[in-house]
Symmetry: C2
Subunit: 321 residues, 2 copies
């Protein structure tokens, strides 16, 4: 990644399929972006990055000029944009008009955007959690994990999170309401750690990391367990992913393991907003953000996700609101 400076003309090109000119305000750092950079998984998300183009990703912006009847100058939007100060975006990409501005605008990169929907869909839609069930979340202080834990508490579940520093563990226990949390880097035996926190086993494992953690979790799942597979961040930077050896537990324990891409569920976004907005307004759900200022800090911000140096949802603030 490198920063390129240049001059742009702030005008919609004519006869273009890109119908909005927007000023980017916030850009979102998300682990899936790493996958697109190596695998070119063009089906994973539309408009994946290539080497000579700005990075593609989620962001929040303000419409400067609109060629689409649903949008007008001054509208705030969130969706797929590019890592640059001004972007031409197409309305056939993921794009939502922001209707509620009594909450922080940056939230539309997180709790009110793709990560929020991811936590909601993965936990509620895919797992159908029941009161009293035991939930384990990895990468638990991240953009998605911190919400899964809070959703689990709202659903009456017992929830434990794992994270990679004392600061994160404190956050989980003291601010985000997890029942327990542990620093996986301090556990030489993950299987033993899980047995300690889940003596009766795990009903729902919200999978964000893959590899060794998944392998230990499989030994500790209960019958009819559910594993929504949201991400496997521990594996994205490996040339050879770690082997998972305990998959036969899927059979013995009748486990459903389901990968998902949140964009398939965007028709549920209005339902999600109805659920989440009151909780935010009433202070019943917290959201921890880690904001860096300026596009020039973007590359380091994105890279920080993979060494776990972020604390909460990592965002690049591009311009004042």
């Amino acid at each position: 990644m490198h920063i390129i400076e240049g001059t742009v003309i702030l005008k919609l090109p004519e006869a273009s399929s890109e119908v909005l000119l927007i000023k980017n305000l916030y850009l979102s750092c998300d682990p899936y972006m790493r996958i697109l950079m190596t695998q070119g998984a063009s089906s994973y998300i539309p408009g994946s990055a290539s080497h000579s183009m700005p990075l593609t990703g989620y962001g929040v912006g303000r419409v400067l000029e609109s060629g689409h009847p649903d949008y007008k100058k001054g509208d705030l939007v969130w969706g797929i944009t590019k890592w640059e100060e001004y972007s031409l975006v197409s309305s056939d990409q993921t794009l939502f008009k922001i209707e509620h501005t009594d909450v922080p605008l940056s939230y539309y990169t997180g709790i009110l955007g793709m990560p929020g929907m991811t936590a909601y869909v993965g936990f509620f839609e895919l797992c159908s959690p029941k009161k009293g069930e035991k939930v384990f979340v990895s990468a638990a202080s991240g953009a998605v994990g911190q919400l899964v834990g809070q959703f689990a508490k709202l659903a009456g579940c017992y929830v434990v999170g794992s994270a990679g520093s004392k600061e994160k563990v404190d956050l989980l226990k003291n601010k985000l309401g997890f029942d327990e949390a542990f620093n996986y880097k301090e556990e030489s035996d993950l299987n033993a750690a899980l047995k300690r926190y889940f003596p009766e086993g795990i009903d729902i494992y919200f999978e964000n990391v893959g590899g060794k953690t998944l392998d230990a979790v499989l030994l500790n799942m209960r019958s009819h367990g559910r594993i929504p597979v949201c991400g496997m961040i521990s594996q994205y930077n490996l040339s050879q992913p770690e082997g998972v050896t305990n998959l036969a537990n899927l059979i013995y324990k009748e486990i459903k393991m389901q990968g998902f891409i949140v964009s398939q569920f965007y028709p549920l976004y209005p339902k999600f907003l109805e659920f989440i907005l009151p909780h935010i307004r009433e202070g019943k759900i917290a959201y921890v953000e880690d904001i860096v200022e300026g596009l020039e800090g973007g590359p380091a911000a994105l890279v920080s996700l993979f060494s776990g140096q972020n604390l909460g949802k990592k965002i690049v603030a591009i311009a004042p609101e």
Copy 2:
């Protein structure tokens, strides 16, 4: 395993929870039995074997004496029995009265018993196959696999099976109606083999073997693919299972991977019989059995499953019908 000879009294003990005395006619050799012998997975199936007791497993028998109102002397039954000539069985174990005797009685260890239900549930109930979908079955000539392939053809799917010998591959293509079949032992690159047979990818993978095969399949699944996890026979004799490295494909391809235990689905057995019996009677579904005579051949028969020396459903015939 060893054979023990002794004298038994052919009479129901009084005040016993075991309410039927049966003469075993056929015993079923099934891969899951291997798991019980090492892991003592008592929740996997009731009445798992211990070292000093006869092996527990599925079989077909005739009632000699009944202490239960639903059964009478002379009734034929299938369900969980023991590897011995005569057994005391409890009606709270899996036990079905055999109502249809115009088909081979041995079929109740296979196509009309647990393996048949396994193929039916795993393929139809868990996968909801659609016409034209591409189906891959491993251990395809086995007790379950040979049925999954035939069910896939009935559902209008394209189906390819893998097996471990030329004889099995011929059986799949020439007798069981698979579109294609290959000998996995002759493929140095399973990924390449799957790309050859599935240039557009796999919609449904019926998982019977685990390990390297699963890893190659994950690279070749299509979006919204389904993997019912029925068994992982390649792994049961390993002290350290093979690592599966391509699980991140679950995410990119939104794959559902679901382990299941067929006994949970036994309430569907009457519905299954309605489906399968006409197909058997009209000769539209074939079933290949590999029968050895005499209890003394039982241990070798069971072991043969794990080296793939069986050709079709392996059965031990204990007594003449």
